[in-house]
C-alpha cells in the first residue's frame, strides 16, 4: 500500500501540486486522472522521488520514503517498476538487453536464469521472439509493452505507469490497459496509472482520483464516476460530444 499525505510541490512560484492526500491499495488499478498540465506526472514523480516534494510524506507500506537516506531509497526503488510516458527504453540496447539490465545489475543469477526471466516477461506482454530488435525498430505500442516487461522484470511490489496509452490507437490502448490490470491482479501489486483517457477510466478504473490544478477534487470508482456531481470532474469527463451523448 502507498499513502501520500499532504504533498506540495512548486517550481519557482508556480504551485503545481497543492496538498494532495490519498491511499493506494494493492491488487487494484489506481488511476490518477486529470487534464493536461494538471500535475499528474509531477505527483507521480514526487511519489518515487524523481522530484522532491516541498512538503508532505510518501509512505510505502508505512515506510516514509521522504525521510529516507540514499541507501534506503535505493532499497525501495528496487521494489518499484515504472512505465514512462515515452517508454524510456535504453536505445543503445536491444529489447532483451533492456529487460536483462536490472537483472544484471542487481541479481547474481546465472545467465540462463536471467534469460529465462527476460523471456518470461516478454511472453507476458506478447512479444516473445522480439528479443534482438532495437527500440528504434519497434512501434509505439510495442515500446510500451517492452517498457512494461522491463518494469516487471524484478517482480516489483509497486508499479507506476505514466500515460501508458497516450499516442496509441484505441485497440492497442485497451490491450495495454488490460495487461496492466491483469498483472496487478495476478501479482497483487500496488499499481498507480496516470491517464487522461476516458476509455481507460471506464475500462480499468477500480479506484480513481481526479486531479485538477494540483488538488484532488474527487475520488471513487468507475461505477460511480458517471453519476458524480462534482462540477470540475464533470467538465473533464463530459468534454467530448461522445461522452455527452452517452450521458443523455
Amino acid at each position: 500500500m502507498i499513502e501520500i499525505k499532504n504533498i506540495h510541490k512548486a517550481f519557482g512560484d508556480h504551485q503545481v501540486i497543492n496538498g494532495v492526500t490519498a491511499e493506494f491499495h494493492p491488487g487494484i488499478t489506481n488511476l490518477i486522472i486529470g487534464g493536461s498540465g494538471s500535475g499528474k506526472t509531477v505527483l507521480l514523480k514526487c511519489m518515487v522521488g524523481l522530484h522532491e516534494p516541498d512538503q508532505g510524506n510518501v509512505l510505502y507500506n508505512g515506510r516514509d520514503f521522504t525521510r529516507m537516506n540514499f541507501e534506503e531509497r535505493i532499497a525501495i526503488r528496487k521494489e518499484i517498476g515504472m512505465l514512462f510516458q515515452g517508454s524510456a527504453l535504453f536505445d543503445s540496447m536491444t529489447v532483451e538487453e533492456n529487460i536483462l539490465f536490472p537483472l544484471n545489475m542487481f541479481t547474481n543469477q546465472s545467465a540462463a536464469e536471467k534469460l529465462e526471466r527476460a523471456n518470461f516477461c516478454l511472453e507476458r506482454v506478447n512479444l516473445a521472439g522480439k528479443n534482438h530488435l532495437y527500440p528504434s525498430e519497434l512501434s509505439g505500442g510495442m515500446k510500451k509493452r517492452v517498457g512494461i516487461a522491463r518494469a516487471i522484470a524484478m517482480n516489483p511490489k509497486y508499479l507506476f505507469c505514466d500515460e501508458p496509452n497516450s499516442g496509441l490507437d484505441p485497440r492497442t490502448s485497451i490491450v495495454i490497459d488490460e495487461l496492466i490490470a491483469e498483472i496487478t491482479d495476478e501479482y497483487q501489486i500496488t499499481t498507480i496509472v496516470v491517464t487522461h483517457d476516458m476509455n481507460s477510466v471506464m475500462g480499468i478504473g477500480e479506484k480513481i482520483l481526479y486531479l485538477h490544478q494540483g488538488k484532488k477534487w474527487w475520488e471513487g470508482s468507475n461505477e460511480e464516476i458517471l453519476s458524480a456531481t462534482n462540477k470540475e470532474l464533470n467538465d473533464f469527463i463530459f468534454a467530448s460530444k461522445f461522452m455527452k451523448a452517452l450521458k443523455k
Partner: protein, 244 residues
C-alpha cells in the same frame, strides 16, 4: 550566476564517484568508452598531429634568419613545443569537439527521453553509471593519444623539413635528441589528464542537466564544447604557471 552551476557541478561529481553497484558492469562500460574515445579519435589525432609538426617546422625555419643559430634548433623547437603545448592542447581542443559533443548529446538525449529517470527508478546511481566510465575512459586514453600525437608531430616535422629543405634530416635528428628535459613530458601528461577530465565532466554536466527536448540537447552539446575549450585553455595556463 557562476557559483550555483559550480556547486551543482561539484555535487554531480560527488555522485559520480559513489561506489558502483556492480563492478563487472562498469568494467564493460569502461572498456566500451576506452575503445570509443581511444580508437575512435585515432584518425583525427593522426591527421592534425602530422600537420602540426610540419607547420611548426616550416614556420620556425622562416623565423630563423640568423646564420649564427644552428639549423638543428628547429628540431628542438618542434619537439618541445609539441610536448609542452601543441600536442596536449590542440588535441584536447579537437577532442572537446569530438568527444565532448557526443558525451553531452548522448546524456542529454537520455535525460529528455526519461532514460535517466528510468535508471534512477531501478535504483541505479545514474551519474555513476553514465559518467564514471566516460571519465575513466578519457583519462586513460587521452594521454595515450597525446603521446601518439607527439610522435607523429615530430615525424611530420621531419618530413616537412627534409622535403622543403628547411632543415636536413641529420640536423633535425640532432635537434630533437639534444637538451631534452624529461620534466616537460611530465607536464604534458599532467595536462592531458586534466584536459580529459575537463572535457568529459563539463560535457556530461551539460548533458545531465538538459531540460526540454531535441533543441535543448543541441544547445547543451554546443555549450559543453565551448565551456570545455575555455576551461582547457585556462587550465593550460594554470598548469604551466604552477609547474614550469
Amino acid at each position: 550566476m557562476f557559483f550555483q552551476p559550480f556547486g551543482k557541478y561539484i555535487l554531480l561529481l560527488k555522485a559520480v564517484f559513489r561506489r558502483p553497484e556492480k563492478w563487472s558492469i562498469y568494467r564493460k562500460e569502461i572498456l566500451k568508452e576506452m575503445v570509443a574515445i581511444g580508437v575512435g579519435s585515432l584518425g583525427i589525432i593522426t591527421i592534425i598531429s602530422v600537420f602540426l609538426g610540419a607547420v611548426t617546422t616550416v614556420q620556425t625555419a622562416f623565423q630563423l634568419v640568423s646564420n649564427l643559430v644552428p639549423r638543428s634548433v628547429i628540431g628542438t623547437i618542434v619537439r618541445d613545443s609539441s610536448i609542452l603545448e601543441l600536442s596536449p592542447t590542440i588535441s584536447a581542443i579537437v577532442l572537446a569537439g569530438k568527444v565532448g559533443s557526443s558525451v553531452a548529446s548522448q546524456i542529454g538525449t537520455m535525460r529528455v527521453t526519461e532514460q535517466i529517470d528510468a535508471l534512477e527508478i531501478m535504483g541505479i546511481n545514474s551519474p555513476g553509471y553514465l559518467i564514471l566510465p566516460k571519465i575513466i575512459g578519457a583519462v586513460t586514453m587521452v594521454p595515450l593519444l597525446v603521446i601518439i600525437s607527439i610522435a607523429l608531430s615530430i615525424t611530420g616535422g621531419y618530413f616537412a623539413g627534409s622535403l622543403s629543405g628547411a632543415v636536413t634530416a641529420q640536423d633535425y635528428i640532432y635537434g630533437i635528441t639534444t637538451d631534452f628535459i624529461p620534466f616537460t613530458f611530465t607536464v604534458c601528461m599532467v595536462k592531458s589528464v586534466m584536459f580529459a577530465f575537463i572535457i568529459t565532466t563539463i560535457s556530461a554536466y551539460q548533458g545531465y542537466y538538459t531540460r526540454g527536448g531535441a533543441l535543448e540537447v543541441g544547445i547543451s552539446s554546443t555549450r559543453g564544447v565551448v565551456i570545455s575549450c575555455i576551461m582547457i585553455l585556462c587550465a593550460d595556463y594554470v598548469i604551466a604557471q604552477l609547474l614550469l
